[in-house]
Amino acid sequence: MTLIRISSPHAHGSDSTASVMRRVLIATVPGVIALTWFFGFGSLVNIIWASLVAVACEALALTLRRKPLGFYLQDYSALVTATLLGIALPPYAPWWLIAIGVASAILMAKHLYGGLGYNPFNPAMVGYVVLLISFPVQMTAWAPPRGLGEVPGLLQALQACFLPAQYDAVTMATPLDMVRQNNSLLLEDLWRDPLFGRWAGIGWEWVNLAFLAGGLWLLYRRVFSWHAPVAMLASLGLMAALFYDGGSSASGGSPLFHLLSGATMFGAFFIITDPVSSAVSVRGRLIFGALIGTLVYLIRAWGNYPDAVAFAVLVANFSAPFIDHYTQPRSYGHSKSGGQP
């Protein structure tokens, strides 16, 4: 009999891929409730239909690669990708749009690279960018928030998704669109538009706060470390503060507006914290987050697209291995080059 000598503490970590993924799913709940309250059942229908397609794609890929179906389907990773994509897509999107997005995310961005754990890019964001570039009209059609228009019910949401030809979509520019295209009004005058609320757009500010709450819960449960989200939010706020000149038409909006608009909070806590496609080291995560925050502001303020989280995340994913290469922590007892000190 061999005795294995292991020093204390003898703590057992019960975390598995499935439990982490389940927590991420639970943490999206406040955000999804806020989206449903302000924009109707569209996002919920998106998520459910995306999940069905995702499980089918995952099963197809696993069968083709002769991997055990039950084991990999039970890790919830396909559901997380589908949920994140369903939240990111505009509500009342047609079924084929969602299906194409999910198929690109699961088959192309995930399984071509060998499945969970190998994908260099965030699958949900690859799906989103593929759709944004291929179908810009459908992808920029956001419904008006509660208070500015009638919020469709569940039946209408189902009709919009599965019988898009018979559904009259009501769409409206998002606050980010308005600020991006505005070049004649002072921000103060722009703010009189009913689309804007106290800090950012009506509805949008609460959706962002809800995602912030979900993200803070994940942080509390230690699903991810604080470095990347804090670095991203700080750099985005700093960029906005630097270029905010008190409200001329050229200025891109206050820091608070940028922090509570579009996909900022959703991106900061649910997208860039993906453990596979982000940088690994602590310093690397700080750089990774700061890079995303800066790019988001650059593209929002001067690029063609009103929101930029997806593009910024892909560019940063692409840079992550390089960042990691130069931020490897020194291992204890060795000099920087790897030899004896």
């Binding site: 690669r65 071509l112 060998g114 260099p120 570039i133 690029g303 593009f311 692409f318 291995p321």
Partner: protein, 192 residues
């Protein structure tokens, strides 16, 4: 004046990146990106050659071809100029820094066949750049090429250990990845 040149640089590095947006210089992009260190060497050599060749071909066109009325010979004379610049670079590097020459090795002469170099020379003509603009455009193109090449090399080192399905191993998954990077770079559209 300064703003013009910085816009020219940003345009060549990000918005109209030669590899990911204009799809020039793909051969070294796929061929030399298997290891980070060789990619670094290649990008340094390319930066030097591209900047110099861009300026030299501008001079050749304006001081030699145009006065003689030989504009139709521009492609072939640019190729000649590029080959000369590459050869010159190799000689200087060999004499002045044998170490760098050994690191760059075969990649130095290979730059002759990099279509981004000829592309920059011809685009400079199309866009009516003056001498300084040509120099900056060439330098920006080279920086954009280097940035993407180095990042891609670091990513490919990670892909080398991934469990990629057999039909997609090697260059195939490299091409797929390059496509996704090109998608990401489309986000920079409209920046300048």
């Amino acid at each position: 004046m300064l703003a013009d040149y910085s816009i020219l640089l940003i345009s060549a590095i990000l918005v109209n990146n030669f590899v990911l947006v204009q799809f020039l210089g793909l051969c070294p992009f796929m061929g030399v990106s298997n290891k980070l260190e060789t990619a670094m060497g290649m990008s340094m050599a390319t930066t030097f050659v591209l900047t110099l060749a861009s300026a030299c071909s501008h001079l050749t066109y304006n001081l030699l071809l145009e006065p003689l009325g030989l504009e139709y010979l521009r492609t072939i004379s640019f190729i000649l100029v590029i080959a000369v610049v590459v050869q010159f670079t190799e000689m200087v590097v060999r004499k002045s820094s044998p170490l760098l020459h050994r690191v760059l090795g075969v990649y130095l002469p290979l730059i002759t066949t990099n279509c981004a170099v000829l592309g920059v020379a011809l685009l400079n003509l199309n866009k009516d750049h003056n001498f300084l603009q040509s120099l900056f455009y060439g330098f920006g193109a080279a920086l954009g090429f280097s940035l993407v090449l180095v990042l891609f090399a670091a990513l490919r080192e990670r892909l080398a250990v991934a469990d990629v399905p057999e039909p997609f191993e090697g260059a195939a998954i490299g091409m797929v990845t390059a496509g996704m990077m090109a998608l990401a770079f489309m986000g920079f559209a409209g920046l300048v």
